[in-house]
Symmetry: C2
Subunit: 342 residues, 2 copies
């Protein structure tokens, strides 16, 4: 496949970080891809830890690490000059560098020179493949699930990761297919769909979930929302190219305005399901909505359970918070697997 | 505005062309932007003419030409080595070079060197601006019309050009806003929307039709169709960013399959209008469909008139072929102007 594939396992680089939210990438990797992480590496000034073994690049390389992943994302997404000696140390230890930052690694002179001298790769996860096809609309074998949303940034990635894990625990062959930089780092491969040239978005989505065995599931990380005035085109291209058999609608409790666009209300969940299905039917007339993933992160467990039950009754669909395992999530997984096209 | 603006007027370059269809760009410029064309320039082996004065680059420059436009598009979109001496002659005469070809001008060594030596610009019309904003969804002043379609390649550009001309002839302030390479050459500016990175398509569309006087119309060249499995995301981003007050649905008589995708039927015109309006209402709840532009190029004038009347009666909307002037087109223009938001 044309999608990026990353050298693994990783050493997670925390830089000089002092706040947990800025280390979201490292924590996401620890939580969702522990088997890909041999340890962490931080500057002496860092105060945050993932709890993974602290290793120097040389120690990590000796334990099989193939790359150092920049696991922090300070505001602006730039590579701090203070990190550069540590990153060069990693190159010297035999590790490739992997970054989801806006700054491209090769634009940092010491890294560019060091990588060339040592024959190491500098991998920018936000960079899509150079050549992608235009979508053909051809039906592919195997099954596909796409997480879709009423807005951006409300849990489409974690929903896809959680469903992939549940599928696998039931013995169902499944792959998480990443479409954003954090997802790509977690999966070890993927395509940053929002960075693809517009004409090739649906083609990139087709590439990302190729023909597969009849009972296999690709669980594709959604992006944005067809209701988002800035990004709906990205969401629609991803929807058409994925040709999902099943969609799961993601919503965040209390999110009544599109993020950052106060003039735009979020759609109701039923509205969002209806329009997303209408659009999805163009490339897969059999698509169904298996249920709803509701982000209830601001509630305690008891209150969350009540809210999920209320929503489920109102919508007549399974409703679960994928970060809270239990009967609600089991029912959502049941409904997803019933959408199988085989 | 951030959109590309081309040095004008043009000298049209026909290369060594021997077939009229390959000179579509030159003929489009002659027909739709005669005021931007001082003449044509061809190699001795060419057998096609636009009928414009034949000028050498030096003669054209003396008459005010600012650039030479490659007006031919042979299969594959490559710049033929046979053209290079003539293109260098144009650089030496003081003209910039403008190309809508796939080959980038600076990738032809003699052109790259010649332009650098002479201080001329090499302008690739397929190249979008380096910096584009993410769409804000903010309502802008003035009026916008977008040509939309049941498929790609059926007359959205010519419909927009024709409506712009009709608006102007009625004394209505109007600008044609180009979104594809031929349109950009005709308009002298624009953004090649299908080459924009996906996240910025709606933002590019916002940039292309900025705030304007209350009675002014931007007539925006549509791209693709929200029913096209390969390109719907581009069409949706353009629709959302344009925030049209009025859409005109374009269809080609007899086109019952999506171009190049035999498994996909084109939608009916009413289906296409319904879904396009549902999607357009996200960023402009007042959007209306003024009518239908029907490509009847394969019919004679009498038969075309009958078919337009039949379609109009069936749909209950004005239906015109924008390349056939007359009462049908007048009624379509009336309906467009009634959609004014002021």
């Amino acid at each position: 496949m044309l999608a990026l594939t990353l050298p693994q396992p990783y050493l997670l680089f925390l830089g000089d970080i002092t706040s947990i939210p800025n280390a979201k990438t490292a924590f996401g990797l620890r939580d969702w891809a522990p088997e890909r992480c041999v340890g962490e590496f931080a500057l002496p000034t860092a105060t945050v830890t993932t709890g993974l073994p602290r290793l120097t690049p040389a120690q990590a390389a000796a334990q099989g690490a193939k790359s150092l992943v920049i696991g922090v994302a300070p505001h602006g997404g730039v590579i701090s000059p203070a990190w550069v000696p540590a990153l060069v140390e990693a190159l010297e230890a035999g590790l490739d560098l992997v970054s989801g930052m806006h700054t491209r690694l090769e634009n940092v002179p010491h890294l560019c020179i060091g990588a060339a001298r040592l024959g190491r790769r500098l991998i920018n996860v936000r960079q899509p493949p150079a050549v992608l096809p235009v979508a053909t609309g051809r039906k592919r074998t195997g099954n596909r699930l796409l997480t879709v949303g009423t807005d951006c940034a409300l849990g489409k990635k974690y929903t896809a990761l959680s469903l992939t894990r549940e599928f696998k625990e039931r013995g169902v062959a499944a792959d998480f297919r990443a479409t954003g930089q954090t997802g790509i780092l977690i999966a070890g491969s993927g395509i940053p769909i929002d960075s693809v040239v517009a004409d090739f978005v649906a083609g990139a989505a087709e590439t990302l979930s190729p023909d597969a065995e009849p009972l296999h599931w690709d669980v594709v990380e959604g992006q944005g929302s067809v209701f988002h005035p800035s990004y709906a085109g990205v969401s629609l291209g991803l929807l058409h190219g994925t040709q999902p058999d099943v969609i799961v609608m993601c919503h965040a409790l209390g999110r009544d305005r599109i993020l950052g666009l106060a003039d735009y209300p979020t759609p109701s969940v039923p509205q969002a399901i209806e329009l997303t299905l209408i659009l999805a039917r163009l490339t897969n007339p059999k698509v169904v909505c298996a249920g709803v993933s509701l982000n209830t992160s601001q509630l305690d467990a008891t209150r969350a359970k009540m809210v999920l039950a209320e929503y489920g009754e109102k919508l007549g669909l399974p409703v679960a918070d994928p970060l809270r395992r239990g009967t609600e999530l089991d029912r959502l997984v049941d409904a997803c697997l019933q959408g199988c096209s085989a």
